[in-house]
Structure formats: C-alpha cells, structure tokens
Amino acid sequence: MSGDRSTRGAGTASTSTLTPALMILWRDLFVTWREMPAFLAQVLLQPVFLLFVFGQVLGSLGFLQEGYAELLFPGIVALTAFLTALQTTALPLVIDFSFSKEIEDRLLAPTPTTAVALEKMAFSTLRALVASAAMFPLGVWILGGIPWEAGALGWVVLFVVLGALTGAAGGLTLGTLVPPSKINIVFALVLTPLLFTGAAQYPWASLEVLPWFQVVTALNPLTYVSEGLRGSLLPATPHVPAWVCVLALLGFLALLTATGIRGFLRRALD
C-alpha cells in the first residue's frame, strides 16, 4: 500500500479498507459505553411507558380486552428496534453535517465514503438490538409475563435485526435529506405517524374494518416488523405471513439504504 514511504508512516502499513470503518464503529461504541445509563434511558423510556400505560394501566382499569398486553408486547419490541435505529442514525447526522462538523475527521479516513455511511447504520443497528433485548426483561417485569413460543428465537432475532437495519436505513435517508433548519418539523411530522401506523398497537389483520387505514399501515416498514414478531410469538393471532414480512423488509431495506447512501454522499461531497 503506502510502500513508497518506507522511512515514514511506518505504523500505517497493515491496514485494509475495512480497518478505518471498524475503528469508527469502535469509537461510536466507546462513546455509547461511557454513557450507558443515559443511552438506555433515552431509548427505553418511550417503549416502557407505552407498555406500562397501554398494557398495564388500561388493563388494570378494565378498559382493555383480555390478552391485549400480549398483542401489544411484540409490537413494542418492533417499535423499539425500528425507531431506536432510525433516531440514532438521523439525529446525529443532521447535527454532524450542519453544526458540529465532527464527522469530517471520519470522512477523511482512508476508506470509501460509503463505508462511513454503512458504519452509521451498523452502529445504530447495534444500539437498537441492545434496546430491543432490554425490552424482554422489562416486559416480564411490567406485564408480569410475555408471550413466548418454543422455537421462536430464530424468527425473533431475524425480525429484530431486519427491523433495526431498516430503521437505520430510514434514518440515514431522513438525516441526510432534511435540511437542518427543518429538522424539528420533519421529525414531528415523520415520527408520530411512523409510531402509530406501524401495527405496533394492533394486529394488521384486525384493520379489515378500516380498509383505508390498513392500506396506510401497509406502507410503513414498521408494520412488517410488528407483524413478523407477533406471528413468531403469537402464532394463533391472525398475522401477515412471515415470508411476506421478510420480503417486504428486505425491499424497504434495499430502497432506504440506496437513498440513504445517495443522501450521505451528497452531504459529504460538494
């Protein structure tokens, strides 16, 4: 590689193009690790409150049908995976590219710029996986028990990972598409609808009574994460078939990754 400089730069010889990206990932994990309590509070507060109010409080007050908490739990795990990844990617990118410029030192690493974008996705996915995993003990604690099926583990992992990746790709798209001056309004306009049209709080099949809403929810990638997880954990509940969920998520993932990387390159290079 940089072999024409035998006398200087001696420490840099052994690198592949992957090394810089891994080091950038290590930097992000290092920073997260130091702020673990803050990180967990940040990503878990919303799903915990949703579980507590909709699963526990309303149930105790007798407003909910028996078994609703079970329906809710897979949706909340899906929501945690998807939205944590989305927000972890989008918000820092907006700040990095506009105000702090901190990302500049990573864009100068000897690695393709696309690799830096993919690192952002990988990091958000890891954070989302940690947050989603934490929802299981929290679910047991808040609801007193969570649905589980023998042999569901593989499917659960698959859908959580796909959901996190898709959320990260969506965050990459959103974070590079939105001008910094509009970030507040865009987040408000995007996050709330995503939160409530993703079949997290209701099974998709039950929306037959509201056909227009069923169509709207079909456009939200989160729907396929919720349905996939619900189908894995509660096979008896009517749900979108797993293979449809996987295909839909792969499609969203490919599309959003492509738009996200394009947006990232546009912001990184003048």
Binding site: T15, R27, D105, L108, A109, P110
Partner: protein
Amino acid sequence: MTSAPPAHRADPGAAPGGAAEPAVEVVDLVKRYPRSPRNAVDGISFAVRPGEVLGLLGPNGAGKTTTVGVLTTRVRASSGSARVGGVDVRRDPSEARRRLAVVPQRPNLDRVLTARQNLVFSAGYHGVRRAERHRRADELLERFGLGDRGGDKVDKYSGGQAQRLMIARALMHDPQVLFLDEPSTGLDPQARLFVWERVAELSAAGTTVVLTTHDMDEAEEVCDRVGVVDHGELLALDTPAALVAEHSSGGSIEVVVTPPDGARRPRGSEEADDVGTAVAEATARVRGVTAVDRLPGPAPTSRLRLSVDGDPAAHLAPVAEAVSATGALITDVRLGRPDLEDVFLALTGRELR
C-alpha cells in the same frame, strides 16, 4: 477494495524542475457548484515540490478553499485533475486520504472525546497500530504544548489550543502533505507564531504544506512560494521576493523635515512651506525617485513621501544628502518596502481585505 493501480507513475512535464515527482499537482482544475453562475475555481494549475510550503493567497471567495477541498477529496472537481502524493484524488480518494491531512478553518474536533482520545482515534481511523498511536499522541501533545491537557475534553479548549490540537491530530498518521485552511485566522499573535514555527519544522522534516491565507504577513513569513488567487484563477505563483520584484513598482521613503535651526518663526508663517517645497524639489532630482508627494504635517515640519524604484533602503543616503543640501533637518524617516499587498493590488487592482 484494493488500491492496486500504480498511482505513482510520474507524469512527464508535470514536475517543473523535472526532478522528483511533485507532492501536489493540480492541472486545469475547474469547479462549478450547482446553481452558481460562475466557476468557483476556473482553470488552476500548479505543482508543489516535496517539503515545500505553498501558500494560496487571496480574498474570501477567491477559490482557495475550494481548491483545497478538491485536493482533500471533499469537493468533486468539475474538470481537470488533482494528485496528492502521486495519487489521483478523484480516482482513488481513499488512497489519497492516506497521504494527506487537513486542518480545517473551523474546529471540527470530536467534542465527546478528550484531546488525547481525539489524537488516538484519528490515528486509528488511519490504521496506525495501537502502540504506535499512543506513543505518537503523547509525543505530539508534548510538542504542541498540550502535554498536561491531554485528558481534558476538547470543549474546554481555547481557540488557540483547539487549533494546535487539530494540527497535532493531522500529524498523527504522518501525512506526506498537510493542508491548512486559514491556519491563523482568529488566533492571537503568540499562537500565530507558534503555528508558523511548527509549519517551518514540518517543512524542514520533509512534509509538504499547502496553506490558504488572506494574511500577507503569513504568506510572506511562512511560504516558500505564494500563489495569488482571485476569482478562481491563479494570477501569479512564485517566491514572495520574486513576486514583489516582478509585480510591485517599488517602495517609498517618507521623510519629515523641519526648517534649519534658528530660522524658526511663529506659527502660521510661510517658512515651513518654503522648506517643504525646497526639499521636494531637491529630492525629486535624486536618481531613482519617481514621485514626491506632500503629506499633511504639523507646522513647522513638512512631510513628504518619495516613491522610489526597488528597495527604498538603497535610496536613503542620496535622499538624505539632497535634504541636507537645502539646509533642512530630517526629524523622522520611514521606509515603505514593497510587499505582497502591492503585488495583490498590482495583479487585481484591488486591496486584499
């Protein structure tokens, strides 16, 4: 990805001296930003020798930062080529980034990390091995006067300290070419001097430095050669001395004279003007003096500015002789040496600033 292409083929006719391959080479570089009516960089070509300090001098918006942006792989050129350390920055930006480092105009330090972590991680991004990056971090913190501040978060740093840390960070992977964008803007004189000394050291150690500046003193003090850039074009490129010799008409001598002793008269008399006129006539006849201007001065003194060819110091003795021949006394002298400011004025018709 393997960066295998033989990026080091010397381009015949590129190196001006024909000796070593240039450390930086720009050929017919053009950059036009979308929705912009004119080219930000409009056909710039130059080459920088290894170990040389090249300054790009020009006002804000001249195209200096865009040129550096292209060379540092952050700006895509519209046409033309740019090579750093022999690597085409467009064809192989990753490999080019291995050989270069940038100190940007505005601080972009990693604010959640300490100073030392900033250095260590930056070296890590560049693939410097673990033991080596810790050793270099300590060494550079020491060299940049931050030895006792390594554990501090960088948001506690002053502007000058942040600037020093950014230069230290840039040196962590031992780049062949260091780009400094307006390195001393906003720094106090002492910090400026510190940066200039480090640049001189780097150059002496063989690192090529390309800096942009709109500061004449910086260009003159630090740079081996200076390129004058305006409206996206490189108007001239040479050593500061050669630029001054070629593009400025000459220097000036300012003298303040008083009438001969004992001839002093009450305020408002004509005496001072008489002396001033006599001195102006006498000095105008001195060889090399091209013009004499009377400047306002308090009575009974007279102030005159003589424009001269070349170095004003060379004309000082004959001018003093001509003044004393009139009987007037010189009470003050100021030499105005031609500098890059004059060069810029001559090349662009405008003052820089």
